[in-house]
């Protein structure tokens, strides 16, 4: 009896950028650095996707300023992605951005068999709308609960508490510190973090190992065990970027 006429397929891995495009991002070249960092990370991300054919890496991006809107709305295969520059201007509707992502993570359109999505929130300031309501909407969605959530703070004015709430609390485990927002103090460290998120994290999320579910006796260790940060990023004193934000 021949093999049946069924569709076998690799599993989609949705990678979403949530980019702060408020007016302050125009200062000190932060917007330019973010555009450049994402654009430069794409070849590496595509290479990781090629190396992990069991996953189909699909990228989307949300920009938020006065309002939140899709910058890349259609889930786009990373190898087909052409990054258009984001523009800075306005305030920081971060809560609205989270609601936009929450709607996109509903099933449908999300596929039941997708891999846990990766959400990367990048911000240099404080939300000017109802962040809590946005986060609540997001975390009500099962796919958001399953997601790998990372946050990158640009400069010293970023609201670390808000970013920590976005990524959630993860207790320290043996040999690892609790997970914290990544703090980029210049274009170099931002590029390294973006590179790490788009390659190492995508690689880990592409072929996730099954793991033990959370119990009262064993709290969850994150949806996907995250790879180590690159050494130069682990130690901010190694950072020799040209301009400190």
């Amino acid at each position: 009896m021949p093999f049946p006429d069924v569709k076998l397929a690799n599993r989609p891995l949705h990678f979403l950028y949530l980019c702060d495009c408020s007016g302050s991002m125009a200062a000190s070249g932060k917007m330019q650095a973010l555009n450049q960092a994402i654009r430069q990370s794409l070849p590496g991300m595509a290479a990781v996707a090629r190396d992990n054919p069991e996953a189909r890496v699909l990228v989307r991006a949300v920009r938020f300023a006065d309002h939140a809107a899709w910058h890349i709305e259609a889930p786009t295969p990373v190898e087909q992605l052409e990054w258009r520059d984001l523009q800075a201007g306005g305030i920081t509707a971060m809560g609205e951005a989270l609601k936009l992502v929450a709607a996109a993570l509903q099933t449908p359109p999300m596929e039941v068999r997708a891999l846990p999505p990766v959400l990367v929130l990048i911000s240099d300031g404080q939300p000017t709308d109802d962040f809590s309501a946005g986060l609540e909407s997001l975390l009500r969605v099962p796919w958001a609960q399953k997601s790998v959530r990372l946050a990158i703070a640009l400069g010293h004015d970023a609201d670390l508490e808000v970013l920590q709430r976005f990524i959630g609390s993860e207790p320290a485990t043996a040999g690892r510190s609790p997970r914290r927002p990544l703090q980029a103090s210049n274009a170099t460290s931002l590029a390294q973090y973006i590179q790490w998120a788009s390659t190492a994290v995508v690689g880990a999320a592409s072929m996730p190992a099954s793991r033990v579910s959370e119990t009262p006796l064993e709290p969850a260790a994150g949806n996907i065990p995250l790879p180590d940060l690159p050494p130069t990023v682990l130690d901010p004193t190694d950072d020799v970027g040209p301009l400190v934000w």
Partner: protein, 424 residues
């Protein structure tokens, strides 16, 4: 060893099937050993219990055994086995069961009943003699988010078996069928659950006579699918597999097939009524990785919806198309609806507005259908249903959309489950 054929204390044939999937990654670096020991422990403990069971142990007793006694004994045996392995093969650091973490699925087939138990993300499919397949068991653990799953290495693992345990009596009238027990890699390799059930049916029907080709098929599933390890065991009750009926595609005459029909198969043999007999089992395990794609083409028999006027609104068109899609794949209905169980509960609790969901039918037609089927007693007070005429049977709104009985039944079942899940 994933299968054991033996005789119980009364000399009746018994078949045991087990699958296990070790967790990957550094934390569980001995999980390959752990999964092997999980299968061995389960088969040994279950086999011993069946061989020594006193006559007259009723089905209630066997149900308790599957849900409580057997899990405790299996976990105890597994913990002893992995600790012994550690002492014989010490590694860095201290011993901890976590290193050997694994799931476990177990099926017991006897001439009078069959049952299942275990924990973790394995799937169990029943395939009837005519090729129809339905998913009987999947992991529904609320804490199993992302790639997380329940594991034998958890401190109270034995207590987690009860949710996956079940006993099914067998009657002489029961038709021949097969059970396909597999790790999660097979389902995750299929684009849809319809594909998964078709594949399970094919695996069950291909059977032992083609065991030589099964490794190649499993290689393909892993390579073109999720890249995950795939393990499958197949057990048969009765004669399924000995005389293969034609594929379901060839029988589905109401709707034209999506692809050219396969070559004509031999005519089906008349159903045989006899005491269920334990068939043969095939057990294959594999671990491979790669990628690719394929094509879909399965048409299930379905109920024709009543004639409808051409719908003009996009929402109604979407809802009608959704009803047709759902009714064309009755085997996947319970699964699709179970995935929306949060919506059922939210509607029941009044946290979701049915009118808003119905208005958004074009973007989410299934949610709109569920909202339209909200039982009348749960409708918002400002929108009471119209009373049916005296003597008339109350009609559900979905009747007007041509919903098939399978869809209505699956919705009713999900509403009942959502009632149980809703706190008073």
């Amino acid at each position: 060893m994933l299968c054991v054929e033996m005789c119980d204390a009364e000399g009746q044939p018994v078949m045991l099937m087990a699958v296990a999937d070790g967790h990957g990654g550094r934390r569980y670096r001995r999980s390959e050993v752990g999964s092997r020991l999980a299968c061995e422990s389960a088969l040994a403990v279950a086999g011993a219990a069946l061989a020594e069971a006193p006559p007259g142990k009723g089905q209630g007793g066997w149900s308790r055994w599957l849900a409580q006694d057997l899990p405790e004994a299996v976990q105890r045996r597994w913990l002893e086995a992995v600790e012994a392995h550690w002492h014989n093969n010490p590694g860095d650091g201290d011993f901890e069961p976590l290193l050997y973490g694994s799931t476990l699925g177990l099926v017991v087939m006897t001439p009078r009943w069959w049952g299942h138990t275990g924990l973790g993300d394995w799937d169990l499919v029943r395939v009837e003699a005519d090729g129809r397949a339905r998913l009987l068991e999947e992991e529904n653990e609320p804490t199993a988010l992302g790639e997380a799953t329940c594991s034998l290495c958890q401190p109270r693992a034995a207590a987690l078996f009860a949710r996956r345990a079940g006993l099914h009596p067998l009657s002489p009238e029961e038709r021949d069928f097969a059970l396909v027990l597999c790790t999660d890699g097979i389902r995750k390799s299929c684009a849809t659950d319809g594909d998964f059930l078709t594949l399970a049916a094919w695996l069950a029907r291909t059977g032992a006579e083609a065991a030589g080709t099964l490794p190649e098929a499993l290689d393909r599933i892993s390579r073109e699918g999720s890249g995950d390890d795939v393990t499958v065991t197949i057990g048969r009750i009765g004669c399924l597999g000995e005389e293969l009926p034609p594929p379901l595609q060839a029988q589905a005459s109401e709707t034209p097939p999506m692809k050219p029909s396969p070559p004509a198969a031999p005519p089906p043999s008349p159903p045989q009524r006899r005491r269920p007999a334990i068939g043969r089992a095939v057990a294959i395990g594999l671990a491979l990785a790669a990628a690719g794609g394929g094509a879909l083409g399965l048409v299930w028999p379905r109920t024709q919806p009543p004639q409808q006027a051409t719908p003009t609104s996009p929402g109604l068109r979407a809802a009608l198309a959704e009803v047709e899609r759902l009714c064309s794949q009755p085997a996947t209905l319970p699964l699709e609806l179970r995935r929306r169980r949060e919506l059922f509960v939210a509607l029941r609790q009044g946290r979701q507005d049915p009118a808003r969901l119905k208005a958004a039918a074009a973007s989410d037609p299934l949610a709109a259908l569920i909202a339209a089927d909200l039982p009348a007693r749960d409708l918002p007070e400002d929108k009471p249903p119209a009373d049916p005429p005296p003597g008339a049977r109350p009609r559900r709104p979905l009747h007007a959309l041509g919903a098939c009985p399978a869809l209505l039944e699956a919705l009713s079942r999900q509403w009942a489950e959502s009632t149980a899940a809703t706190p008073p």
